[in-house]
């Protein structure tokens, strides 16, 4: 087994070049029945989280889509998709086999990597080691650790564990000379009960110390992070009791803006009262988009648009906090997993009867300009 550079904790900041390395490894695994020419080079990638897990690739125009199958639904239950260039990452939890899925969007090849049993992966991020090699960071919720996975051309994987990464680590990024872990601070090993506020834990490449930044306004077993320069945006989905009917909300989700260099919280914004969830994406138009459920009764998906510099809401007059979206006839439309492209067109997904998924695209003014079938059981969306 090759010794991982992460054993020495010498990791550099992730760069796009790492994705190319990962891609070269993936293509060594072979291709599926569709040739690369059949797959769109640009467009949207929908993560089909259930029924027939995999990816549905939707080009920028037309209705033809292509599929990349992950595997049976018993072995995939992921809800988060990370796409960097032509590499897509997703994970399954302990209830679906503790697996890391790495897919090449160019070739359609899929690699499954077995994470430690009962480790309960939360999501996967592309990172890069100091030697330039592609690495994948996988927070392991039930292990309180982060797995650093290196794939080699022969199809083998090397996993290095970074221990003491919090009570329930749910996301990981690289900044400076450290790995930063979002700790949901919840009993993920049992019932995901929230034990305290979300924490941001800095794990330096050298030594065994941990620096912890408590994000006091953020609670929830689903927490994530996006980094832009020196600023991190941490989102937590809130706290609710799903163990009995009717479901009860304890605290709505929230987003914090954190200065990583100085390790301090710059600002916070709570999600609207009654809402649950906070799935954060950085749009290519510079805004932040938070997808959540309006309430715990109807679970109506909603989208918030925030300004990145102060987390203030972008709202139309008299429209309430949520992004106003309408169809061609002006009727309200709701959707989730929203993100905007560079010109401000909002892309999101919506599941209809039979969990048939549609990709919806709205003009910057919020009017529906495109609706295209996008597989089934969509749970997340990324743009290429």
């Amino acid at each position: 087994m090759t010794r991982s550079p992460f054993r020495s904790r010498s990791v550099a900041v992730a760069v796009p070049a790492a994705c190319l390395s990962a891609l070269s490894l993936l293509t060594a695994c072979g291709e599926d029945a569709l040739g690369p020419a059949d797959r769109p080079q640009r467009g949207a990638v929908v993560l089909d989280g259930f029924v027939q897990p995999g990816l549905t690739l939707v080009p920028d125009s037309g209705t033809a889509t292509t599929r990349i199958a992950f595997g049976p639904p018993t072995e995939f239950d992921g809800g988060d998709l990370v796409v960097e260039n032509d590499t897509a990452l997703a994970v399954s939890s302990r209830g679906a086999g503790d697996l890391l899925y790495v897919a090449s969007l160019a070739s359609g090849a899929v690699r499954r990597v077995q994470m430690p049993r009962a480790s309960n992966p939360a999501r996967a991020r592309l990172l890069r080691g100091s030697g330039g090699q592609a690495l994948i960071g996988v927070p392991l919720r039930d292990s309180g650790a982060v797995a650093l996975v290196r794939l080699d051309a022969a199809g083998a994987s090397t996993i290095t564990r970074v221990a003491n990464a919090g009570r329930c680590p749910t996301d990981v990024v690289r900044y400076g000379d450290a790995t930063w872990v979002v700790d949901a601070n919840a009993s993920c090993v049992t019932n995901y009960a929230v034990e305290g506020p979300v924490r941001l834990i800095r794990i330096p490449d050298q030594g065994t110390s941990r620096d912890t930044l408590v994000l006091s306004g953020l609670r929830g077993s689903a927490a994530s992070i996006e980094v832009a320069g020196d600023v991190a945006y941490v989102a937590a989905g809130g706290e609710a009791n799903f163990a009995s009917f009717p479901f009860t909300l304890i605290a709505p989700g929230a987003v914090a803006r954190v200065d990583l260099r100085n390790r301090r919280v710059l600002s916070q914004r709570a999600m609207p009262g009654g809402s649950y969830g906070a799935s954060l994406k950085r749009g290519r138009d510079g805004f932040l988009y938070v997808s959540l459920y309006e309430d715990l009764a109807t679970f109506t998906p909603r989208v918030l648009q925030l300004r990145a510099d102060d987390l203030s809401l972008v709202t139309a007059s008299g429209q309430g906090p949520y992004r106003a979206l309408t169809d061609e006839q002006g009727a309200p439309v709701t959707c989730g997993s929203a993100v905007a492209d560079a010109v401000g067109r909002l892309h999101c997904i919506r599941n209809g009867a039979g969990s048939a998924t549609s990709l919806l695209v709205f003009s910057p003014l919020g009017q529906l300009v495109r609706r295209v079938p996008a597989g089934q059981g969509g749970v997340d969306l990324a743009l290429r």
């Binding site: 595997g71 809800g79 009917f245 039979g354």
Partner: protein, 724 residues
């Protein structure tokens, strides 16, 4: 209604007593406890066992839950059965259940000449409860001789049935239906869980079951809501027996039943215990390493204990069944999160039936306790209790069979789940037969007779929260029969052309999720699922002669369902939903050949079942487009060798569009059994050695849940020769 045979059999001479055996018309199972009264006199006898010798005379046969029949013993002269005393003749009187599932009525012999050739004489108590209905019955004795070891295996061996099993639970698909569309009844009482919509056959020991009958197609009249795809009708056992069985992977089983009399009361009681480790090896071909790995199932054990009993009095009948079980909830092969989870179940069923004037009144109650235990995460422990009660009255008014009833269901479960509902129904059914008064000259010359039968019925179901749902059923068949004296097709023959139309409804179950699971989902309001049309056109033929019985039936089938209730897994916002359309088109056929030296049964089907929703065409999960099976039994003296082959084509394992990546591969399995009957002084002993999956085929009935490879079992069944 009575069927008088005297005139028809007058030409046949008889003397002395006749052995009369009473059987259920729906399943062919023997019925103890019938009351036989001499017509016009005061003689009356209660038949503790299904058969008894009666002196000449006209006798009326009555039994709780069945329509009476009359037989004229003096007119019967032929048809000696092998097990009858020398010189004794046997008449089988089949009684049509009053309130149970219609159809499957055993056919009467075609002609008087045919009567003389058969080893038993079958008397149908009604012209036909519901013609044009396909059915197949497998008796427990036959199943034991074929090496089958449980009620699930008994039902799975029936034609029209596809099955799948995971985590100790078996789901049945009949004629391409989803498992929730199959109603399972025990003596007419629906066993489907009001909370989950399916029935767990694993709790029913074979000693408590006399026979299983599959009735493909919607059955709104007999089983009511939930029978949109078909019915599996189980019949309570009626004989003494004791069985011990052992098999691979720690399988151990003991069960027995006894019956006797106390005055005018017939009692029956029994118990069963089953345990198995089920820790079989398998090849994991879907691991993350990409390489095949030989592994062994863990936490797949299963233990069940059952008690059952019945009391049959002149004025009523009471049946009790109670079971207790525990099993490991092993997960899919590559998911180890459930390696320690356990499920404890306790079920009880009580059913009583009494005649009130001309009306049969049936009352039933069921209770189910579930306890889910997660030793590694006790905070996720959960429990649930489900109760269901039913009251029903059935009677005859002129040409109509009428039924009305009502009941209620309720579920209470961890997490504040508390749901309940009430329901009621009325149903009317008519059936009639007409023999052609005049045939063509050729027919008269060849002794060909024609009979037409028809049936119609309607049912109204009212379920709180689901409104009033009407369902209709129409059926007709035309039969020609005769006797050919020479040629390769000599013997009594019969040809039937039939057509059947039916509707059905399935109301949403109380909680369309395995509610012992710690996962709590928001359940959407659902509309009732409605089978708009279940249609069948069939042809059948049979040939009977002393050493041969041949039956064949083939059908074209179609089913259109609106608002199919289908579970689409997901997160908070998703739960079962109504799919606008589900359509099935298909064909099936089965053939049965019986000879003194052996039997052959074969079945083949092609079903194209698909859900249509929002532009998606979704093949109905786990319905194989092509399937076939065959069973052959060879007998020689006390020996019987049985081979059973089953084949299933590719079948989708998700509720998604057709994609080979999400289909299970074709599979064929072969089961073998060797049985020997030993006649002892006071009992008959049946010893069987069976080899399931004899070719050690690696396969899965549910994706991710491997099935055992080659597995042996041995069983000994002791049946007293003389019943009380």
């Amino acid at each position: 209604m009575r069927l008088l045979l005297a005139a028809a059999w007058a030409a046949l001479q008889g003397d002395g007593s006749v052995r009369v055996c009473v059987h259920d018309a729906a399943t062919g199972a023997p019925l103890p406890g019938a009351r036989i009264t001499a017509e016009g006199g005061d003689q009356a006898r209660r038949l503790v066992e299904p058969c008894a010798s009666l002196p000449a005379g006209r006798w009326t046969v009555r039994r709780v839950g069945y329509r009476p029949a009359t037989v004229d013993v003096a007119a019967v002269a032929s048809g000696t059965r092998a097990d009858a005393a020398p010189g004794e003749r046997t008449v089988v009187v089949t009684l049509v259940p009053l309130a149970a599932v219609p159809g499957a009525t055993m056919a009467a012999p075609a002609t008087m000449a045919a009567i003389a050739t058969l080893d038993t004489l079958q008397v149908r108590a009604a012209p036909g409860a519901m013609p044009a209905r396909a059915s197949a019955t497998l008796r427990t004795e036959s199943a034991r001789a074929a090496g089958l070891g449980g009620t699930t295996a008994l039902v799975a061996a029936l034609p029209y049935v596809q099955w799948r099993t995971a985590r100790g639970e078996t789901g049945l698909s009949v004629r391409g239906a989803r498992r929730e569309q199959v109603a399972v009844t025990l003596d007419g009482l629906v066993l489907n869980d009001p909370a989950t919509g399916i029935a767990d056959l694993g709790d029913l020991p074979l000693a408590a079951v006399a026979a299983a009958t599959v009735l493909p197609g919607a059955d709104p009249l007999g089983a009511g809501p939930g029978a949109g795809g078909g019915v599996v009708a189980l019949q309570s056992a009626t004989r003494r027996e004791a069985t011990v069985r052992a098999g691979a992977f720690g399988a151990r089983e003991a069960q027995g039943a006894w019956q006797g009399t106390v005055g005018d009361l017939v009692w029956r009681g029994g118990a069963a215990h089953w345990a198995g480790r089920n820790d079989f090896p398998f090849v994991n071909r879907a691991g993350a390493t990409g390489a095949d790995a030989r592994e062994r199932r863990v936490n797949n054990d299963d233990t069940r204990t059952s008690l059952f009993g019945a009391l049959l009095a002149p004025r009523g009948e009471l049946v009790l069944l109670a079971t207790r079980g525990e099993r490991g909830l092993v997960g899919p092969a590559n998911v180890r999160a459930y390696d320690a989870d356990r499920l404890h179940t306790a079920r009880a069923l009580l059913r009583g039936r009494v005649p009130v004037g001309p009306v049969q009144v049936t009352a039933g109650g069921r209770g189910l306790d579930l306890a889910y235990r997660d030793p590694t995460r006790p905070v996720l422990d959960a429990s649930a209790r489900v109760l269901a009660g039913d009251l029903e009255a059935a009677g005859v008014a002129g040409p109509l069979r009428l039924r009305a009833g009502g009941g209620g269901d309720g579920v209470r479960a961890t997490g504040g789940i508390a749901q309940s509902r009430t329901r009621g129904f009325v149903a009317a059914e008519w059936s009639g037969a007409r023999a052609a008064s005049r045939g063509s000259p050729e027919d008269r010359r060849d002794g060909v007779a024609r009979v037409s039968r028809a049936a119609a019925g309607a049912r109204l179901d009212a379920v709180s929260g689901s409104g009033v749902q009407p369902s209709l059923s129409l059926a007709a068949e035309s039969e020609r029969h005769g006797v050919r004296a020479s040629g390769p097709l000599r013997g009594a023959w019969r040809g039937i052309a039939s057509a059947r139309l039916a509707q059905a409804v399935r109301v949403p179950t109380l909680y369309d999720l395995f509610f012992a699971s710690p996962q709590r989902l928001a359940v959407r309001p659902l509309r009732p699922e409605r089978v708009l049309l279940d249609a069948e056109a069939a042809l059948g033929a049979s040939l009977a002669r002393p050493a041969l019985q041949l039956d064949w039936r083939g059908a074209l089938v179609a089913r259109e369902t609106r608002d199919a209730i289908v579970w689409f897994p997901g997160n908070f916002a998703w739960s079962p939903s109504n799919v606008p359309r589900e359509r099935l088109l298909g064909a099936d056929a089965h053939l049965r050949i019986e000879t003194p030296r052996g039997d052959l049964a074969a079945f083949a089907s092609r079903y194209d079942a698909a859900l249509r929703v929002d532009g998606l065409r979704i093949p109905t999960p786990y319905v194989a487009r092509h399937a076939a099976g065959a069973q052959a039994a060879l007998r020689g003296g006390p020996w019987q060798v049985t081979a059973r082959a089953q084949w299933m084509g590719r079948r989708p394992f998700t509720a998604g569009p057709r994609d080979p990546a999400f289909e299970l591969p074709t599979v064929g399995t072969l089961d073998l059994a060797l049985a020997r009957t030993v006649t002892l002084k006071a009992a008959a002993l049946l010893a069987t050695v069976a080899l399931d999956n004899a070719t050690n085929r690696d396969w899965q009935s549910v994706r991710g849940f491997p099935m055992p490879g080659r597995a042996w079992s041995v069983a000994i069944t002791l049946t007293p020769r003389s019943q009380p």
